[in-house]
């Protein structure tokens, strides 16, 4: 996670300070679209099937606010510790584009649903704190498909309005970030949070979670901010990181040469590994915002806001702190286990079912995580299930099976499921921990390896390995090895 290699961008940051602010657009997981009854889950419909007169912007139609979208935005705002003003309204943002059916987007201009929030997250050893300027609500546009390259040179263009009107939340961050890594971590944490509270599915590739960046550089001596450049077209965390590094490098080179930075919009081109100018300030839109006359202003009474607040789940940072206090985990483990709501819930369920806190953490973060990844199947939905794992770990904890056996059983049962206890009995996998039985095997091992026994007695500690292997093999790997270790030492010290 920490950047150790000296990149040109990092070198540039010795001379200049980067000032980065991110704007995130996140589609809400509401049932219906923002202003009509069409489904907000638009990806599976045939082109233009998931539409109605309202989201097609036909003459004479009117928008009706989706209450669930308001609630989800308030939920997000509260999770980001924003203030929720009592008064809010929608505004029209006017511009022409074929994917914008009404010729304006219903958005929020000067009275957003919320303001003044914050998010904190660790980067390397330090805690980065980034202000949230505002979280507001708007509608998504349709999508365009070009026969050819881009709109300007396409021979034919098609518009699909299935996405038109999907509720879109805009989260504007303060320019509090200083490195590309800050920016990436901010996005990781924000995405985690939105998914945690169930308002967004966090899919960067499909564009349900999108990010634009504003970045400027100022010399370490200067007080005033530099000219900012907007960077778009970044559809992965890696792309955000690379694009910002590349932009820091580019701006530093411009400034080093004594030239000035142009205020413009630049697009990240993955294949070329750099940003490319898209639009300069002279062509900036005048969106002619004005209050949406088709929608009366909204008053969010405090009872509603408090109801939403009460419905918020425990958020990742708080939950991680509790995991440290309640289960005695270290901060790192607690943070990994709370990174998704499902993981954290799984962990707590496992502990509730009687699995020791540390044991549950180790297994979930280790073998279970690997299997979940391999099979693209979470424990909760796996054949083994949370209860199955708790039984398996119960056998391990009570020393009825040993670690290697537990691992083998986990791998075997993860997908297809089964009762670990029954299989242990059936196959005789139970751990050999009977002292009398093991003592006999220990004696046999010493008899069979006289040289190793002599070496150990002579002070050669590693000679014990050969003796232990002997016992392990004699029990088909089922021996309680810590016990074997103790018995061997006792025998050889006599």
């Amino acid at each position: 996670m920490t950047q150790t290699a000296e990149t040109p961008a990092i070198a540039a940051l010795e001379r200049y300070e980067a000032v980065i602010g991110l704007e995130v657009h996140a589609q809400l997981l509401t049932v219906s679209k923002m202003f009509c009854g069409c489904s907000a889950a638009y990806t599976d419909a045939a082109p233009n099937d998931n539409t109605c007169p309202v989201c097609l912007g036909l003459p004479g139609v009117l928008p009706v606010i989706n209450r669930q979208a308001i609630e989800y935005t308030v939920r997000t705002a509260l999770a980001l510790e924003c203030e929720i003003p009592e008064f809010t309204k929608f505004d029209r943002k006017n511009y022409f584009y074929p994917d914008l059916p009404k010729g304006y987007q219903i958005s929020q201009y000067d009275t957003p649903l919320s303001r003044n929030g914050r998010i904190e997250f660790p980067v390397g050893g330090e805690t980065v704190r980034c202000g949230i300027t505002r979280v507001h609500l708007e509608e998504d546009t349709g999508t365009m498909h070009h026969a050819g390259d881009v709109l300007q040179s396409a021979t034919q263009s098609f518009v699909d309005f299935n996405r038109s009107g999907v509720p879109l939340m805009e989260i504007v961050g303060e320019p509090d970030l200083r490195t590309a890594e800050h920016a990436r971590e901010y996005l990781v944490r924000l995405r985690q949070l939105l998914m945690y509270i169930g308002v967004n599915d966090g899919n960067l590739e499909k564009g349900s979670f999108r990010c634009d960046a504003n970045i400027s550089l100022r010399s370490r001596e200067a007080a005033e901010l530099g000219t900012k450049v907007e960077v778009k077209n970044m559809n992965s965390f890696r792309a955000v990181h690379r694009a910002l590094e590349s932009e820091i490098e580019r701006q530093a080179a411009v400034l080093d040469s004594g030239a000035v930075i142009q205020q413009e919009t630049r697009g990240w081109v993955e294949t070329r590994g750099r940003t490319v100018s898209q639009r300069s300030k002279e062509y900036a839109h005048d969106y002619r915002y004005f209050p949406e006359p088709d929608l009366p202003p909204l008053r969010l009474d405090s009872a509603f806001v408090e109801r939403v607040r009460a419905s918020l789940p425990e958020l990742p940072p708080a939950r991680a702190r509790r995991f440290v206090d309640q289960y005695g985990l270290n901060a790192y483990d607690a943070s990994v286990l709370t990174s998704t709501r499902e993981d954290a819930d799984t962990y707590e369920e496992l502990v509730r079912l009687g699995v020791a806190a540390k044991l549950a953490a180790n297994w979930l973060m280790g073998d279970v995580a690997a299997l979940a990844n391999e099979h693209r199947l979470g424990l909760r939905d796996s054949g083994l299930g949370i209860a199955g794992l708790s039984r398996l770990l119960g056998l391990l904890d009570s020393a009825r099976i040993n670690g290697p056996t537990a691992k083998e059983l986990l791998t075997e049962l993860y997908v297809r499921g089964g009762d670990p206890e029954a299989i242990v009995l059936e196959r005789g996998l139970g751990q050999v921990s009977d002292e009398t039985e093991l003592e006999a095997l220990v004696d046999a091992a010493i008899a069979a390896n006289p040289v190793a026994a002599t070496d150990f007695r002579g002070g050669k500690q590693q000679a014990l390995g050969q003796l232990m292997r002997h016992v392990k093999e004699a029990t088909g790997g089922r021996a309680d090895m810590p016990l074997v270790n103790r018995l061997l030492r006792e025998r050889l010290s006599r």
């Binding site: 003459p59 009117l62 009366p296």
Partner: protein, 489 residues
């Protein structure tokens, strides 16, 4: 009995006593339109097939439940071409919407249809309801049935002319700054603009969203009230429609005006008012006095800035509402390989000069750097205007005034926009304040109809009908038939 001489109430009775049927009424109506439309050009298209289906359905309802069938059952209606009807071409009298057929029916129209009304056609109007003379229609002007060389007023000129020509007993229009009341006045019929939020705008092609309201034209105040109560009420599809229950305007329709305090705004009698109009309206005030109302002089000093306020807010909203006519999805598209040129050509050829003027005005008023000086200031003045009405209504129950400063003027007479905008100087403050207002015939000036405007506080729509009805029943003006109606009967 011919529909041309009749009211909804009379026709409803004839449909129930067997002296007429919805099909007969429809046939008479279509024949009448055939006879008048060549003179008025009030209809852009008739909808015979839809009307026949609706007439047959109405006949079944009337046979099954003659007493409980709604009063509108089997009654022919005409719809201004800004109202969307599923499967019926709807153009807002604009080339840009040529060939556009909505896949849905608007709420107010659907309520009429649900009540059994028979839609006979779509009426001509000023393009996108922008105008006061109907001369801004892309499909030609409308002749006033009292003198076809003169304008019927606008923007709902076709609906007003159709009722005045005796085609239909009632029609729907839309009123953004006077577009129902002013043509009603110029055509000698009743026209009512409801309180903003009383009638759903869903399915009304928007001109200025915060001002637009659908309302009826009819030959009597009672008929207008019948149509209004059929279409009024909360609609979940229109967030600006009011959720409160609508009181039945017919309940207190005949309660009279005795003891009522009526305000006479002095500013509404200035501003280029024609002497003949003044005379007719002053006579009407004396009639109301004779009926037991008391008259009180009041002042609405912001009236003179109402016009400029209106001509910032309405164009601002229009510039945004009309952005969807871009050639991408429906209506006219003037092809060009470059997107920007497709937009420019489509909108250049699709919109007429008045629409372009207002889109330009509105775009300017909303532009960065001008917003505060124009749009924000206009909104403040709008609040002042509304407050002024509220103050006046603390003293009086309703306001009475002329509807239009002049009677119908000859086509081509007002070629500069400002003199045309003056047509609505006493109607548009009512829209700015969201009030209910009606125009009821109150005599003639130079042989042309004059209208009396009655205005009440918000949600006091019933009071407007009550005052207008009392006046109407005390006079004979509403019985006067236009020469065209007489000729076609």
């Amino acid at each position: 009995m011919s529909s041309t001489a009749s009211t909804i109430t009379a026709l409803a009775a004839s449909l129930r006593d067997g002296s007429s049927s919805p099909r007969e009424l429809l046939a008479q109506t279509l024949a009448h339109i055939d006879a008048t439309n060549t003179r008025t050009h009030a209809y852009l298209r008739t909808t015979r097939e839809l009307a026949e289906r609706q007439a047959d359905a109405a006949a079944r309802t009337l046979r099954a439940n003659p007493e409980s069938a709604p009063p509108m059952c089997g009654i022919p209606v005409a719809l201004k071409d800004v109202l969307c009807v599923d499967g019926v071409e709807t153009t807002a009298s604009s080339r840009v919407l040529g060939g556009f057929t909505p896949p849905y029916t608007g709420t107010a129209v659907q309520r009429l249809f649900d009540a059994g009304a028979v839609c006979v056609g779509k009426t001509n109007c000023d393009e996108f309801a922008m105008g006061s003379s109907n001369e801004n229609s892309a499909f030609g002007p409308v002749g006033n049935p009292w003198d076809v060389e003169r304008v019927p007023g606008g923007s709902s000129g076709g609906s007003a002319a159709s009722v005045a020509a005796g085609d239909v007993p009632c029609a729907l229009g839309s009123d953004t700054g006077g577009s129902i009341r002013q043509p009603a006045s110029l055509c000698g019929v009743v026209g009512f603009k409801p309180t903003y939020g009383r009638v759903s705008r869903y399915g009304l092609i928007a001109f200025a969203s915060s001002l637009d309201q659908i309302g009826p034209f009819a030959r009597s105040v009672e008929d207008a009230a019948i149509v209004y109560s059929t279409i009024a009420g909360h609609d979940p599809r229109d967030s600006t429609s009011d959720p409160r229950a609508v009181d039945d305007p017919l309940l207190r329709l005949r309660d009279g005006v005795a003891g009522m305090r009526l305000g006479v705004p002095k500013e509404y009698f200035g501003m280029g008012i024609d002497p003949g109009v003044r005379e007719a309206v002053e006579a009407a005030l004396r009639v109301l006095e004779g009926l037991g109302a008391t008259l009180h002089h009041v002042s609405l000093p912001s009236t003179e800035v109402g016009l400029s306020t209106y001509y910032i807010i309405a164009p601002a909203e229009c510039s945004s509402n009309l952005a969807r006519y871009d050639g991408v999805r429906f209506g006219l598209r003037v092809e060009h390989p470059a997107l920007i040129d497709m937009y420019l050509r489509t909108r250049d050829q699709g919109f007429g000069p008045e629409v372009k003027r207002r889109v330009m005005l509105g775009t300017y008023a909303l532009s960065s750097g001008y917003y505060d000086a124009y749009y924000r200031k206009a909104q403040k003045v709008r609040t002042l205007i509304a407050d002024e009405f509220t103050r006046v209504f603390a003293d009086v129950d309703a306001l009475v005034s002329p509807t239009s400063p002049t009677a119908a003027f000859p086509m081509g007479d007002r070629d500069d926009p400002i003199s045309m905008y003056m047509c609505d100087v006493v109607t548009l403050p009512v829209n700015l304040a969201g009030l209910p207002g009606i125009s009821v015939p109150c005599g003639f000036a130079g042989g042309l109809p004059v209208g009396l405007q009655v205005i009440a506080p918000r949600f006091e729509d019933s009071r407007v009908f009550r005052v207008a009805h009392a006046y109407e029943q005390a006079t004979e003006w509403h019985r006067a038939r236009s020469p065209l109606a007489e000729a076609a009967a």
